[in-house]
C-alpha cells in the first residue's frame, strides 16, 4: 500500500507551533479531510505534504520513503487551490496541458488525455476559452482537471470550494467525491466547513492550535466527539457546566442525570445535541427521569427547512437550542412565547472533563 505518513510533524514560526507533533496516516485511496478553524494548522499541514513548507521536526513518508527534502515537483502530488490559481493567459486546454508538458508527456497521447479530463469535468466544449471567461464553479473544475492531468499519486485540495456560492459548493463537492471514488485516488482535503467535511470524507481530522483533537469517521466525529472543542466545532451542542458525581451533573440551578460519565468526576461539562432533546408530551412519561424534565419558554423560532430550531429559556437565564423536524413541529401548534416541558434523555449526554 502506498500510504502517506506524517510522523511527529511540527512546524514552528518563532515561538508558535503552527503544527504541533502531528501523527497521521493516510491510506491509499482514502479521502481524508483536515478540519478546523483558521489558524488551527490544517493548511500548514497540507503545505508540508505538498512540499511548499518544510517541517521543522518530524518526517513525512510516502510509500515508505522519507520525502521531507523532496521539492514539490518531485513529489508528483496534484494540488487544487482556494483561488483556483488558473493561468489567466492560457486557454482552458493549455492549462490542463501545462502539467503534461512539464512532465514531458508523449505528445501523441496528450490531446487524448486533455479530452478525457475535460470530458470528465464536463468542460470539453469550453476548452478554447480563457479562465476569466468562466464562472467560479467552472474554473474550479478546470483546476481539478489540471491537477489530475499528470497522474498524481495523491491529490491535495486546499479549501477548494470556499470561494463559491452555497449551492454550487454543495453540487461540486458531490462531484469531487464521485470523481475521487471512481479514480480511487488518495485525497487530502482541507476545509473549515464542518458540513463539507462530514459529507465528503472517509475520515475527518479535527485540528486545534496545531494539534490533532480527533481522527475518525464522520459519523463518529459527530456522534462521539472526544472533547468539548470537537462537540462545539462540529455541529451544534448545548453545554452544561457543573460538578459530576455518580452520573449526575450539578450546576448552579440544575441537577441533571447523565447516562455515562466515562469515569469523570468533579468539574465537567455535559453536552447534548439539539435534536436529542424531546418535548415531554411526545414521549412515554413513565420512562422519563424526573430530574431531566425542564420547563421553559420559547423565545426564538427559526425555520431552517427540514428542521425547526427553537431557543428555549429554562430556569430563568439558561438558553437551550432544540432542533425538531419541521413536519412534526407543524402538528404540535407551538408558537413563540409558549411554555413547554423539555426532556433531556440521560443517555444522550456526553461528559467532558472541564478544560
Amino acid at each position: 500500500m502506498k500510504n502517506l505518513e506524517l510522523i511527529n510533524i511540527s512546524k514552528i514560526y518563532g515561538k508558535l507551533y503552527a503544527v504541533n507533533n502531528v501523527n497521521l496516516t493516510v491510506e491509499e485511496g482514502e479521502f481524508l479531510t483536515l478540519l478546523g478553524p483558521s489558524g488551527c494548522g490544517k493548511t500548514t499541514t497540507l503545505r508540508m505534504i505538498a512540499g511548499f513548507e518544510y517541517p521543522d521536526i518530524g518526517e513525512i513518508k510516502y510509500n515508505n520513503r522519507i520525502i521531507n527534502n523532496y521539492i514539490p515537483q518531485k513529489r508528483n502530488f496534484g494540488i487544487v487551490f482556494q483561488s483556483y490559481a488558473l493561468f489567466p493567459h492560457m486557454k482552458v486546454r493549455e492549462n490542463v496541458a501545462f502539467g503534461l508538458k512539464m512532465h514531458k508527456y508523449p505528445r501523441e497521447d496528450m490531446e487524448k488525455r486533455i479530452k478525457t479530463l475535460l470530458e470528465i469535468v464536463g468542460l470539453y466544449e469550453h476548452r478554447e476559452k480563457y479562465p476569466p471567461q468562466l464562472s467560479g464553479g467552472m474554473q474550479q473544475r478546470v483546476a481539478l482537471a489540471r491537477a489530475l492531468a499528470p497522474q498524481p499519486e495523491l491529490i491535495l485540495l486546499d479549501e477548494p470550494l470556499s470561494a463559491l456560492d452555497a449551492k454550487i459548493r454543495v453540487k461540486l463537492r458531490a462531484e469531487i467525491k464521485q470523481l475521487q471514488v471512481e479514480l480511487g485516488i488518495t485525497t487530502v482535503y482541507v476545509t473549515h466547513d464542518q458540513e463539507e467535511a462530514l459529507s465528503i470524507s472517509d475520515r475527518v481530522v479535527v485540528m486545534k492550535h496545531g494539534i490533532i483533537e480527533q481522527v475518525d469517521k464522520p459519523i463518529n466525529i459527530y456522534k462521539k466527539p472526544v472533547s468539548k472543542y470537537v462537540a462545539d466545532f462540529v455541529g451544534t451542542s448545548n453545554f452544561f457546566d457543573g460538578e459530576v458525581t455518580d452520573s449526575f451533573i450539578r450546576g448552579r440551578d440544575f441537577l441533571i442525570k447523565v447516562g455515562h460519565s466515562g469515569g469523570i468526576e468533579g468539574k465537567a461539562t455535559a453536552a447534548i445535541r439539539p435534536e436529542k432533546i424531546e418535548f415531554l408530551n411526545n414521549i412515554n412519561k413513565n420512562d422519563a427521569e424526573e430530574t431531566n424534565i425542564f420547563e421553559g419558554r420559547i423565545t426564538v423560532i427559526v425555520f431552517l427547512g427540514l428542521i425547526v430550531r427553537l431557543v428555549v429559556r429554562i430556569g430563568g437565564e439558561t438558553d437551550v437550542i432544540v432542533d425538531y423536524l419541521e413536519k412534526r413541529f407543524e402538528d404540535m401548534g407551538i408558537k413563540r412565547g409558549d411554555n413547554v416541558k423539555l426532556y433531556f434523555p440521560p443517555e444522550a449526554f456526553t461528559v467532558y472533563k472541564a478544560e
Binding site: A50, F52, I71, P72, Q73, K74, N76, F77, G78, I79, F81, Q82, S83, A85, L86, F87, P88, H89, F98, G99, M102, H103, K104, Y105, D109, K112, R113, T116, L117, I120, H126, K129, Y130, P132, Q133, L134, S135, G136, G137, M138, A143, R146, A147, A149, P150, Q151, L164, D165, K167, I168, E182, L183
Partner: protein, 573 residues
C-alpha cells in the same frame, strides 16, 4: 468513464535542480552587480573627498585630510553654488507642487472634458532631454529672445536663477503630477462628499479634507521635485550662465579645471540634500500607499460651471504650455534662423559634430540594450524579492532602492574615478566603452524599475507560482511560462521607461562619453553651448521622434498581443 486514461504509464524521470540554488544564484548576482557598480564607486568617491590631492599632477595621494572640504567652504565663489542650488530648488519645488496639485485635482475631482488628452499632454517633458526647457526659454526670453528682444524690445532676459527655476518647473511638472494624480485618484472622494453633506463649503472642504488627505502625496511629490531639481545638470548649464549650482560646479571643476578633489567634494555635498530628499520621498510614498482605498469610486457629480470653466482653462493652459515647449524646438529645427529668417530648411540636420548623425544611432542601440537588460533584470529582481524571499531579500531590496538617492552626475563621476584606474583590470573592458554607459544608466534607474516590478508581482497570487510548481514546472519554466506572461504589461512599461531615460539622460553620462562613444543627448548640450541652436534643436527633435516612435510601437504591440483577461463570465448552473 474511460478508465484506460488513468492507467499509470511510467512518466520519464526528470532531472530537477532545486529552485533555491537558482534563486540564490540570480539574486546573488544582482546583489553583487549593485555592490560593484553602485556601492563601491560611491564609497570610492566618499573616500576620495577626504584624500589629499596634488594639484600640479592632478592626482590623489595616500592619506586622510579634510582640506578639500575646507577649501570648498572657504572659497566664497564656490560655496555660493550650494546656496544657489538650495535657492532654485526650493522655489522650483514649491511652484511645481502647487501647479501640479491643481492640475491633478482638475483631472481627478472635477468633470472637465478630455482628461486623458490633458494627462498625456502634460507628460511631454518626459520624452526630451532635460535642457529642452532651457533651450526654449532662451529662444523666447533670452538676450535675442523672440519675446524679450523681438516683441517687447526689452533689455531684460531670463538667464540666471529665474530661468533655472522656470525651466525646472516645466521639466519636473509631470513627475509631480503623476504622484499627485495617483494620490488624488486613490483617496476616497466620498470623504469630500461627506464633508459637503455635513454643511462644509467647497473651499472649506478643499482645505480641511482634500488637501490633508492627500498630504503624503503632496510631500512625496515635493521631495521628488526637490531631488530632481538639485541634481539636474542640463537646464542650469544652459540657462544659468554665471549662476552656478552644485551640479554645474562639479562639471566645471572636473572637466574645466581637472580639479577632481573639488569635484568629489562637491559631489559629496550634493549627495546630502539628494539623499535626504530621496528618503523623504520614499517615506511619504509608503505612507501615501497605505491610505489607498480599494473601494469602488463613486461617480463624480457634475462640477458647478464656474469650477468647471476655471479648471478647464487652467489645465489646458498648463498642458499647452508643456507641449508648446516641444513644438517650439521642432520649429527651431526646421527654420533657417530663429527670429530672423523663418524659411524652412533641413540644413540643421547635417550635423557637423564628431560622429555626425551616428550619435543618434549610438544612443539608440545603447538604449535598446539598456531597455532590454534593465527591464529583464529589474523584473527578475522584483520576482526574487517579492515572491521568492530568500534570506537576503531585505538587503537586496535596500540595495535596489538606494540608486534613486544617488544623483546621476555623482554616479557618472564615481564611475570614471574608479574604472579609469587599474581596479581589477576593468579599465580595459569598461573605461570609455559603451558597456560602462549601459551599466550606469541601468543602475541609475534601478529603483523605479524594481519598485514597479515588485508592485506588479504583488498582484500575482502566490498560489499561481505554487500551482506551476506542483504541476512539475521548475523555476525557469515557471518564470518563463507563467510569471513573465502575467507581467508582460509591466515589463513593456519598464522597457519604455528604460529606453526613454536612456535616450534623454545627460547628467548620468556626461562624464562617461569618450572620443569613441558620443551620445545624442550630450551632443545637444555641446551644440547649444557652441551656439548652434538650429542643430541642437534638430538633434532634440530626432531624440523626441525616436522616443515617440518606440513608445507607439510598443504600445501597439501590447494591444495586439493583449488577450482579454476580463471576459464575460459564464454563470454557474
Amino acid at each position: 468513464m474511460d478508465n484506460t486514461a488513468f492507467c499509470k504509464t511510467e512518466l520519464p524521470e526528470k532531472r530537477i535542480v532545486d529552485d533555491r540554488y537558482l534563486i540564490f544564484l540570480a539574486g546573488g548576482l544582482i546583489f553583487l552587480f549593485l555592490v560593484f557598480f553602485m556601492v563601491v564607486p560611491v564609497f570610492n568617491i566618499l573616500r576620495l573627498s577626504i584624500t589629499p590631492y596634488i594639484e600640479e599632477s592632478h592626482s590623489f595621494r595616500k592619506g586622510v585630510t579634510f582640506d578639500n572640504f575646507y577649501n570648498y567652504f572657504t572659497k566664497p565663489s564656490v560655496v555660493q553654488s550650494l546656496y544657489n542650488s538650495l535657492y532654485v530648488s526650493v522655489w522650483a519645488t514649491v511652484i511645481t507642487t502647487v501647479l501640479a496639485f491643481f492640475f491633478s485635482y482638475g483631472l481627478t475631482r472635477t468633470t472637465i472634458k478630455l482628461k486623458k488628452t490633458l494627462y498625456y499632454m502634460s507628460m511631454a517633458p518626459l520624452i526630451a532631454p532635460s535642457l529642452l526647457q532651457a533651450m526654449v526659454l532662451i529662444s523666447l526670453f533670452g538676450a535675442n529672445g523672440l519675446i524679450t528682444s523681438g516683441i517687447l524690445k526689452t533689455e531684460w532676459n531670463i538667464y540666471g536663477p529665474v530661468g533655472i527655476i522656470i525651466s525646472e518647473v516645466l521639466y519636473c511638472f509631470p513627475h509631480a503630477m503623476i504622484i499627485l494624480y495617483t494620490t488624488l485618484s486613490a483617496v476616497d472622494s466620498r470623504l469630500d462628499e461627506a464633508a459637503s453633506s455635513l454643511g462644509a463649503s467647497g473651499i472649506t472642504t478643499f482645505f480641511r479634507i482634500t488637501v490633508p488627505t492627500a498630504r503624503y502625496g503632496i510631500f512625496s511629490a515635493a521631495a521628488l521635485v526637490f531631488n530632481l531639481t538639485i541634481t539636474d545638470f542640463g537646464n542650469p548649464i544652459i540657462i544659468g550662465r554665471g549662476y552656478r549650482v552644485l551640479a554645474t560646479e562639479i562639471y566645471l571643476q572636473v572637466i574645466g579645471m581637472q580639479r577632481f578633489d573639488m569635484g568629489t567634494t562637491i559631489a559629496v555635498i550634493l549627495l546630502v540634500p539628494s539623499v535626504i530628499a530621496f528618503m523623504l520621498n520614499y517615506y511619504f510614498t509608503q505612507k501615501s500607499n497605505a491610505l489607498v482605498s480599494s473601494q469602488a469610486k463613486p461617480l463624480l457629480p457634475p462640477s458647478r460651471p464656474l469650477k468647471k470653466y476655471s479648471f478647464t482653462s487652467y489645465c489646458w493652459f498648463i498642458a499647452v504650455l508643456l507641449l508648446s515647449v516641444i513644438v517650439i524646438v521642432v520649429i527651431k529645427a526646421f527654420v533657417n534662423l530663429w527670429m530672423y529668417d523663418w524659411t524652412l530648411t533641413m540644413k540643421h540636420f547635417h550635423f557637423r559634430i564628431p560622429g555626425g548623425l551616428g550619435v543618434l544611432w549610438t544612443s539608440m542601440w545603447i538604449s535598446v540594450f539598456v531597455a532590454v537588460a534593465g527591464a529583464s533584470v529589474t523584473m527578475v529582481n522584483g520576482y526574487i524579492i517579492e515572491k521568492k524571499k530568500p534570506f537576503f531579500a531585505q538587503p537586496l531590496y535596500m540595495m535596489s532602492v538606494i540608486p534613486a538617492a544617488v544623483p546621476g552626475l555623482v554616479m557618472g563621476l564615481s564611475y570614471i574615478l574608479i574604472f579609469n584606474t587599474k581596479f581589477l583590470a576593468l579599465d580595459e573592458i569598461l573605461y570609455g566603452k559603451p558597456a560602462l554607459i549601459i551599466i550606469n544608466i541601468i543602475v541609475c534607474n534601478f529603483t523605479l524599475g524594481t519598485l514597479s516590478s515588485i508592485s506588479n508581482m504583488k498582484n500575482i497570487d502566490m498560489e499561481m507560482d505554487e500551482a506551476a510548481t506542483s504541476l512539475g514546472a521548475g523555476i525557469t519554466s515557471t518564470f518563463l511560462r507563467v510569471i513573465f506572461p502575467l507581467n508582460r504589461v509591466s515589463f513593456l512599461s519598464n522597457l519604455i521607461y528604460y529606453f526613454m531615460r536612456s535616450m534623454v539622460t545627460i547628467s548620468a553620462v556626461i562624464f562617461l562619453i569618450s572620443p569613441d562613444v558620443h551620445l545624442a543627448a550630450v551632443s545637444v548640450i555641446n551644440l547649444e553651448k557652441d551656439g548652434k541652436e538650429g542643430a541642437s534643436s534638430a538633434m532634440t527633435t530626432l531624440i523626441i521622434l525616436v522616443v515617440v516612435a518606440v513608445i507607439s510601437l510598443l504600445t501597439i504591440f501590447l494591444k495586439k498581443t493583449g488577450i482579454a483577461l476580463e471576459g464575460n463570465e459564464e454563470t454557474d448552473q
